[in-house]
């Protein structure tokens, strides 16, 4: 029973991390109509940045604080230089261009940090565990991840539901022309959304780094899983991304327990089942 409870906590923690990545992906599609394969690379860069910066300044939290602005700028620059040329183009070309970006970003990662696996130590403050029974305990850091993600998710909710920026985001995901008619500088707005999405993905990579290692190709893996999340939830829906992330978190964690040999397939089987029932995803518009 306690093992089940621990697995459940793990699912939720993984689900929250996925949500941070997937929400950026789904927002960028919903608002800008862009399918961004390079989104996973932002996650990877976040993880490598925090590994590197933590080494430099010797403080994990300062590492995150220094890393986030770098990712915001990186997102902004990529949007202006490459993505901005794709708004009028077919999805096919968006897929290809962002595929080209992945090749570049993956190679940059290799040039900067090599092909080794790294680990980021859990910060001392959070390096403990809570005893659940006499023999089982749950690491504090994993709880910390869940709590931080919950705060970010709540923050996103407030921004989207309550602020002017959120109003534009909501309007934009329903009707792009409307945003233009509101007299908003659409270029800057898109760049902001894109770079915020990049920072969200990177942040997920940063706070996830101490529990998973930092390695080449980690971006590709999270990207595909995030796609599954977005497809399940309904493309463009943040609420869908949340529900989808939780479902995939559960499927992945319990897949590992129930069918350890083919755990990764559990996620895709879940997707297939949901799509059989609702081809447009749980919260997608038909």
């Amino acid at each position: 029973m306690m093992t089940f409870f621990i697995q459940l906590l793990n699912s939720i923690q993984y689900g929250f991390l996925l949500f941070l990545v997937a929400s950026g992906l789904t927002l960028v599609f919903g608002i800008m109509g862009i399918i961004n394969l390079a989104h996973g690379a932002f996650f990877m860069f976040g993880a490598y940045l925090v590994y590197w910066l933590t080494g430099v300044v010797d403080n994990y939290f300062v590492g995150i604080l220094l890393g986030l602005p770098i990712m915001l700028v990186m997102g902004y620059v990529i949007e202006r230089l490459a993505i901005a040329r794709l708004y009028q183009r077919d999805h096919l070309y968006q897929v290809l261009l962002t595929y080209g970006l992945i090749l570049i970003l993956n190679e940059l990662q290799k040039i900067l940090w090599g092909s080794d696996f790294y680990s980021v130590p859990v910060p001392a403050v959070l390096d403990g565990s809570i005893a659940l029974t006499e023999t089982q305990a749950y690491p504090v850091y994993r709880l910390f991840i869940s709590v931080v993600c919950m705060l970010v998710a709540a923050g996103m909710y407030v921004v989207i539901a309550r602020t002017r920026l959120g109003m534009i985001i909501r309007a934009g995901s329903v009707n792009r022309e409307m945003v233009q008619s509101l007299g908003i500088n659409i270029n800057r707005f898109y760049a902001i959304v894109f770079s915020a999405g990049a920072a969200l993905a990177a942040f997920a990579g940063m706070i996830g780094a101490p529990v998973s290692s930092v390695y080449p190709g980690m971006g590709d893996q999270i990207l595909i899983i995030s796609f599954v999340v977005v497809v399940i939830g309904g493309i463009g829906s943040v609420k869908g991304a949340f529900v989808g992330a939780m479902i995939i978190g559960l499927a992945d964690t319990f897949g590992k327990v129930l069918i350890p040999d083919f755990a990764s397939m559990a996620v895709y089987a879940t997707m297939a089942l949901i799509l059989m029932w609702r081809p447009q995803g749980l919260f997608g518009r038909a």
């Binding site: 096919l92 080209g100 190679e107 497809v231 997707m271």
Partner: protein, 339 residues
């Protein structure tokens, strides 16, 4: 159809074909092998073009069929002797066709970005299946020790272990696929899928159950992708999860666009150009992926119609009398020549 520009393109293609036929007699062993690789990717890219360029379905999981056929070949090949091609080829192609049928059944009812994401996710599902299946070599992959034998009774018809024989075997396969697809595109079926690409709702309103046409197109494309995987399994002698991975799917997609989608000869040329570049970039630097990434972005931004687009523009410039195609109901790019 019979304009001089299209005839120019045809001559150009035929002369290229002649070069291909002559190549094994003049080229170095390594490069003959490389050209085999190019031709295999040509087959694979043509099959994807049937989906993207003619049916309007952008699949980002096409490597699944390519890799799956390789695994099927590995499964049916005994370790100590060659399997008969009469058994292995149908097994691999029917196996991939079945996989395409199942995956297509789910994905073809969606469109646009959903289709892209779902085909990708299914391909990854297969990737993880083989990646985690230690019986099939896990992430290292599995060897195919002997090429299938082509015998009739006790007579050996083709010795595929012979480098040159195998080269021509692949070349013939590529030509067969090319003409098979031309036949398909000119048939009533071909008219319908091209209608779907241009305007699916209207095609349905005209009385076509478009779902089934898309599904059949998907299965045909998957099966031909399977043929490419079968050849690659023989050629490389090993199949690994990387063959099914989404980087491979991205590469095929890139080949189709580089060559020019919506033509059949374009993807073949794209395959030759891409494999050549890959080989060249790898010689220049260990960070060749960086160059490849820049190249991919440059093609998307500056050469959206691909090599075929360049060739058609050039041919049209050489002959200004290009008029609208006179032939009714032919494929969209009626100008493309044979060979």
């Amino acid at each position: 159809m019979n304009t001089r520009a299209s005839r120019l393109i045809r001559y150009f293609l035929i002369s290229n074909l002649l070069l291909l036929v002559a190549f094994p007699w003049v080229g170095e062993h390594f490069y003959v092998g490389l050209v085999m690789n190019m031709m295999i990717f040509g087959i694979l890219a043509m099959s994807l073009d049937l989906l993207i360029g003619y049916t309007g379905l952008v699949s980002l999981g096409h490597a699944a069929y390519y890799g799956l056929a390789g695994y099927l070949l590995a499964i049916i090949s005994p370790e100590s002797e060659a399997v008969s091609i009469w058994l292995a080829l149908p097994f691999c192609i029917l196996g991939t066709a079945l996989a395409a049928l199942i995956i297509g059944w789910f994905s073809v009812r969606t469109s646009g970005i959903y289709f892209i994401m779902i085909t990708l996710a299914f391909a990854q599902m297969l990737f993880y299946y083989f990646n985690e299946n230690t019986d099939l070599g896990g992430s290292d992959g599995i060897f195919i020790f002997f090429k299938p034998s082509v015998t009739l009774g006790s007579i050996t018809l083709l010795d595929l272990d012979n480098h040159i024989v195998f080269y021509y075997f692949i070349l013939v396969c590529m030509l067969l696929v090319y003409f098979l697809l031309r036949m398909l595109l000119a048939s009533p079926f071909g008219q319908v899928i091209q209608g779907i690409r241009a305007n699916e709702n209207r095609t349905r309103a005209l009385g076509y159950p478009t779902f089934y046409y898309k599904l059949v197109s998907f299965v045909i494309a998957g099966s031909i992708g399977g043929l490419a995987g079968f050849l690659e399994g023989m050629h490389g002698g090993i199949v690994s999860p990387g063959h099914l991975g989404w980087h491979e799917s991205g590469l095929i997609l890139m080949i189709v666009i580089l060559g020019g989608m919506g033509t059949l000869y374009g993807p073949i040329m794209g395959a030759f150009a891409m494999i050549f570049l890959q080989d060249w970039f790898q010689e220049i630097t260990v960070h060749w992926m960086l160059l490849m990434g820049v190249f991919v972005i440059a093609v998307v931004l500056f050469l959206p119609r691909g090599i075929a687009g360049l060739i058609e523009d050039l041919a049209a410039k050489l002959d200004k009398s290009v008029t609208d195609s006179n032939r009714p109901a032919t494929q969209k790019n009626g100008e493309s020549g044979d060979g």
